[in-house]
């Protein structure tokens, strides 16, 4: 029967062009939507890598004109002490502007043993940065000024992605690395979990953390503060006043990291919702189109259906034949669609992992088959209800 259906489809290929095109277009749209959804879902299902609740960020512009490192250091240490003296404050750390969910990015290239890793996020941090953000160590340790001072080589903490890219499954802590094009050497003292710095739906990537030195205070502009559960709006106001009094002539902005995360997630998810709505509308129209094409085909084939019933086809086999024909036609379109879709993982388009495209491809194929079954089912049943005596008499 399958061979018979193939012959029928092949001999009617001109009439089936519309159907084939509709399926191909639907597949392209579904594949795009699925790739996006699978990519975001896989990112979403990974841990965020930090504890963002009750973390506040304070952005400021350095109010001091001096370049003197000691003066700068003293000024900012005083602020730290004043903040830590507040009972609601648990931890305080200075950070470069590209802390998680900030929207700022600082990247660099890194060539290691001929392996070109680019881009790599680079963060300037302090000893308490890990505590403030609750970052999880996978290997080794975080920065510790007392211990780090003893090292001749500058310390560096890397994330899991960078570790995997550089060392595979081998341990990284304790290894000294030197970029191919740099003279400076770094000692990896620890590995932390990847941090989803751009929100829950965005991918992580290789990153390393370097330590702030006293010279950095001249350009740093961010404080991260872990507060207790009793830190309310009144406390925020009090803290703002304190910082304003200590850092005069500067613009202060306090933001809550959980709200920043929501905002970053919104930036990702709102376009997806818009795209999905448009795609859903398109698929709805395609489904109506398919339904119409199948309905029309059946109305054009009433005599054939009547004949088939006369020579031995049951209602069930007529219905099954029409659904099978639609599925076979869909398969032809899917073969073409898959040929193009498979190029995405092969060419690593948009730097999305190949697995995402392959899952999206399978889901898209499944979706198209379900769509075709859904659209063919009712016309197929209607065809099965055709009375052979009437259908044969009509022609």
């Amino acid at each position: 029967m399958l061979k018979h259906l193939f012959k029928l489809i092949w001999n009617k290929r001109k009439q089936n062009v519309l159907f084939l095109s509709e399926i191909l277009v639907s597949f392209a749209v579904i594949f795009a939507v699925m790739s996006m959804l699978v990519n975001y879902y896989l990112n979403y299902s990974k841990p965020s890598g930090i504890e963002y609740e009750r973390v506040w960020s304070v952005s400021y512009r350095n109010p001091l004109k001096t370049e003197n490192r000691d003066s700068l250091s003293l000024f900012y240490e005083n602020i730290r002490r004043a903040l830590k003296a507040m009972p609601q404050v648990r931890e305080v750390t200075y950070s470069s502007a590209n802390f998680p969910y900030s929207g700022s990015v600082s990247t660099t290239g890194f060539s290691y043993k001929g392996n070109n890793l680019n881009p790599i996020n680079t963060y300037m941090v302090e000893d308490d940065y890990q505590k403030v953000l609750g970052m999880k160590l996978v290997e080794g340790r975080w920065f510790n000024s007392d211990q780090d001072r003893l090292n001749a080589v500058k310390p560096m903490v890397i994330n899991t992605s960078l570790k995997r890219a550089m060392f595979g499954d081998d341990a990284a802590a304790g290894k000294t690395v030197q970029a191919d094009d740099e003279k400076e050497r770094w000692k990896i003292i620890g590995v932390v979990e990847d941090v989803k710095a751009d929100g829950d739906y965005r991918p992580t990537g290789p990153a390393f953390y370097r330590k702030i030195d006293t010279a950095s205070f001249s350009w740093l502009g961010n404080l991260l503060i872990k507060v207790g559960p009793d830190a309310d709006a009144a406390f925020e106001s009090k803290m703002s006043k304190l910082l304003s009094s200590m850092m005069q002539n500067t613009d202060l902005e306090i933001r809550h990291m959980d709200e920043m995360r929501d905002s970053k997630n919104g930036e990702t998810i709102i376009p997806v919702i818009i795209f999905m709505t448009v795609a859903g509308f398109l698929i709805f129209n395609v489904a109506l189109g398919l339904f119409g094409v199948l309905w029309y085909n059946i109305s054009q084939r009433r005599a054939e259906i009547g004949l088939r019933m006369a020579i031995g086809a049951s209602s069930g086999s007529i219905s099954g034949q029409l659904v099978s024909e639609s599925l076979l036609l869909a398969s032809l379109s899917l073969v073409v669609g898959t040929f193009f879709a498979i190029q995405f993982p092969l060419l690593s388009v948009f730097n999305v992992p190949a697995g995402v495209y392959l899952i999206a491809l399978l889901l898209s194929i499944l979706f198209i088959y379900l769509l075709v079954i859904f659209c063919a089912f009712y016309p197929g049943r209607q065809a099965a209800a055709i009375h052979p005596a009437i259908a044969l008499h009509e022609e």
Binding site: M1, K3, H4, K7, L8, N11, K12, A303, E304, G306, L307, R308, M309, A310, I311, G312, A313, S314, S315, G316, S317, H387, P388, A389, L392, H393, E395
Partner: protein
Amino acid sequence: MIQLQNIEKVYRTDTVETLAVNGINLNVAKGEFLSIMGPSGCGKSTLLNIMGLLDEPSSGSVSIDGQDTSRFKDRQLAHFRNEKLGFIFQSYHLINDLQVLDNVELPLLYRNASSTERRRLSEEALAKVGLSNRMKHFPSQLSGGQRQRVAIARAIVGRPQIILADEPTGNLDSAMGNEIMDILMSLNEKEGTTIVMVTHDEHMAGKTHRLVRLFDGSQVQ
């Protein structure tokens, strides 16, 4: 072979009730070649459809080869039609998108016959109707007479005991009509196939064993 007992067929709409077949009792013996004649609209085709289990009578019973078909479900009816009956229609009802050989194979598809078996039987059937050289043609490439011969090949490919022909020569000129009639008579004589044929043509009806005349749904001869 076929027993029709008190067959009635009524077509009802909201406002009109039409009695298409009225109290027909008819026995068709095994190996008989019966023709049914009558003016247009007298119920000939309706009666043939009822005999071919393509339509249900409003009342009465149809027995074929000793089996009462009134309680057959859809699958049983389909199987029974496939095994026992062959149909020939005035307008051939060939599938234009399939080659002649594929058209002839159609009944065997619903028997789950192997492709080799289907091909062998179809080639045999086409040889019987003299169309061995047209197997790869499409119906649109054939004359009316050739198309009807393909339809006959399709009707006999499954070796049915009964052939029901609804005006098989109606669309053909007399020469072609005679050719078709010769094939049907040969099937009846050589293979013992029971044939019931609806026709308007007295000449063709005269060649059959028995003639039944209908008028306004009733048997008058």
